[in-house]
């Protein structure tokens, strides 16, 4: 869809903003009411967790970021930094409708993004409603596998590029508690824990475990 985006955008140049390489486009925790569509250059999305800057994503031209801001003036959940000199369309509540009406491709893109966000949030919700912490952690791995579109019926072992702190974030449990659970899984030889990755030996064990816990909980 990207070639179609090019010519249509020229008329929206007055909404275009330039950021120099290294500029912060917005800061985590800052209230936000704008979101962006990259026209040129790359944008890095990071979060500062403890004393480390963690890369969340690197976005390319035609990609949208900061879109959660259109919902409400919630604090930004991550920092966006221009990785190159970046040109981006800046959307806000005032110009949103004008920009969308004049550009169905962008509108469609945003619609799909919202669909994905709704699904992601629901999936997270499913994890958080599990009572059992081990099930929560196991379900995080299932979610990560789903996000990578891994077919769990044909795959046993999965190497996740993730950390214990990420898992604790997704599971909504304190890092210490998450480590305990992960160590327990290590002792049971269900996972292998490395500083920058976690290997799940048999993902279907987790799938069965989570499904049993969920059913048990529904009773």
């Amino acid at each position: 869809m990207s070639p179609a985006l090019g010519p249509d955008l020229s008329m929206f140049n007055r909404f275009s903003k330039l950021f120099r390489k290294g500029d912060i486009i917005f800061c985590e925790y800052e209230p936000g009411d704008t979101f962006y569509l990259i026209q040129s250059g790359r944008v890095q999305i990071v979060r500062i967790i403890g004393d480390l800057e963690k890369n969340i994503d690197i976005l390319n031209p035609t990609e949208v970021f900061g879109e959660m801001a259109i919902l409400e003036e919630a604090p930004r959940s991550a920092t966006a930094i221009a990785l190159d000199d970046v040109k981006a369309l800046e959307f806000n509540r005032e110009n949103f409708e004008v920009l969308m009406m004049g550009n169905p491709q962008i509108a469609m893109k945003l619609l799909k993004l919202f669909v994905k966000r709704i699904y992601d949030q629901k999936r997270r919700f499913m994890i958080l409603t599990l009572d059992d912490v081990e099930a929560k952690v196991a379900d995080v791995f299932l979610m990560l596998a789903e996000n990578q579109a891994i077919d769990m019926s044909t795959v046993d072992t999965i190497d996740f590029k993730t950390t214990a702190d990420d898992i604790s974030h997704w599971a909504g449990i304190p890092p210490g508690q998450c480590r305990e659970v992960l160590n327990h899984f290590v002792a049971q030889r269900k996972i292998e824990l490395y500083p920058d990755r976690i290997v799940v030996k048999i993902i279907n064990d987790f799938a069965r475990f989570v499904s049993t816990r969920r059913k048990h909980q529904e009773k």
């Binding site: 390489k21 290294g22 500029d23 912060i24 800061c27 985590e28 925790y29 800052e30 209230p31 890095q44 990071v46 500062i48 004393d51 800057e53 890369n55 690197i58 959660m68 259109i70 919902l71 409400e72 919630a74 604090p75 920092t79 930094i81 221009a82 990785l83 409708e97 969308m100 009406m101 004049g102 550009n103 169905p104 491709q105 509108a107 469609m108 945003l110 619609l111 799909k112 919202f114 669909v115 994905k116 966000r117 709704i118 699904y119 949030q121 629901k122 997270r124 919700f125 499913m126 958080l128 409603t129 974030h169 909504g172 449990i173 304190p174 529904e218």
Partner: protein, 347 residues
């Protein structure tokens, strides 16, 4: 291919919850109800589709399984679209998308809140503290442009907040560093940067045992120090040396004393007093074997030897710094370059 008109009898099911579906439906006449289970309460929700309304959009667009049963309550005429067909229609009529965006953003808002409500409280950082700490992180990591941005934003949103005084003085500090060393380095591309001479203010402060709460940066002492440092950037090394000496002799604050001592040694190098430079930095390195800028100090010593023509000593010192790693440390990189050019010269 074009959308198909399909008739459904009362009581039939258009699709089931849990099915994989790639079709989008538009209700032309009759009655269709969607029944789903609320993720929060477990209650069954029924939602009647209005005439002219689309359904099955989310699962088709996102390629997810259907989240509801679509039940025909009264004989219905439905248009069935594939995703490309739907996109084609929508591209000619953006109002369709706008309407859906509104619906979806409401849904997103709702589920977002539901998730937030379930998050444990310690996961949620107070945004005010969070924003200030972003500035702290970037300042500590010598990314002055980014630090400055965060502190300024902090003051925009919290002009009389808990960290307002600190943020103000950190802005002065970050601006000072910025004018001396440039904006620091953008994320994930340390390679492009040359910040080897930039001091690590936070690290140094930590070394002298002062907490971040000590907002003394704009004090007279800090001002005097920054004035002296700005003389270095203007290449007025002798004046800078004298100003720094005053600070050191005043001894009012161990942090500024040690900063001054370090910068004086630097001045000596630029004043071509290589023996004195070596002596000073060696003393600093002995006094603070874990000095945050030890590598920088040793580099000046090495350069002094090189200037004096003692290339063997310079070379072994350069190799030592390189061995201290890490490989991508800006100082290490600079040293490697210096070593290469020195060895190139010898040949």
């Amino acid at each position: 291919m074009s959308p198909k008109a399909v008739q459904y009898r009362t009581g039939s099911i258009i699709y089931f919850k849990g099915e994989q579906g790639d079709k989008i439906f538009l209700l032309n006449s009759g009655k269709v109800s969607l029944s789903s289970v609320d993720i929060e309460t477990g209650q069954v929700l029924r939602d009647q589709i209005k005439m002219g309304e689309f359904f099955g959009v989310k699962s088709a667009l996102g390629r997810y399984i259907r989240e509801e049963d679509a039940v025909v309550l009264q004989d219905a005429a439905v248009m069935v679209f594939s995703v490309p067909e739907f996109e084609q229609l929508a591209s000619k009529n953006t109002r369709i998308i706008m309407k859906m965006l509104k619906v979806f953003s409401n849904q997103l808002r709702r589920v977002h809140r539901q998730v937030q409500n379930l998050m444990v409280s310690d996961e949620q950082v107070n945004p005010e503290t969070g924003l200030y700490k972003i500035g702290e992180y970037y300042l500590k990591n010598k990314r002055y442009g980014q630090a400055l941005h965060a502190y300024k934003k902090y003051l925009v949103y919290y002009p009389s907040g808990a960290y307002a005084t600190e943020a103000t003085s950190k802005i002065v500090q970050a601006e000072e560093y910025l004018s001396r060393y440039g904006s620091g380095v953008p994320a994930a591309s340390f390679v492009a940067a040359d910040s080897s001479q930039a001091p690590a203010p936070a690290a140094l402060r930590a070394a002298s045992g002062q907490g971040p709460a000590a907002a003394e940066e704009t004090s007279g002492l800090a001002q005097a120090y920054y004035n002296a440092v700005s003389l270095i950037t203007q290449e007025k090394y002798l004046e800078a040396f004298k100003a720094l000496k005053k600070i050191l002799e005043g001894g009012a604050d161990p942090e500024y004393s040690s900063k001054a001592e370090f910068d004086m040694a630097k001045c000596l190098f630029y004043l071509k007093q290589y023996d004195n430079c070596i002596k000073s930095f060696t003393a600093i390195a002995q006094k603070f074997p874990k000095h945050p800028e030890l590598k920088d100090a040793l580099f000046f010593v090495g350069r002094s030897y090189e200037e004096k023509g003692e290339k063997a000593r310079a070379g072994s010192l350069y190799k030592k710094i390189i061995s201290m790693g890490p490989e991508d440390d800006p100082v290490v990189r600079k040293v490697r370059k210096a070593l290469r050019s020195m060895e190139g010269e010898k040949v």
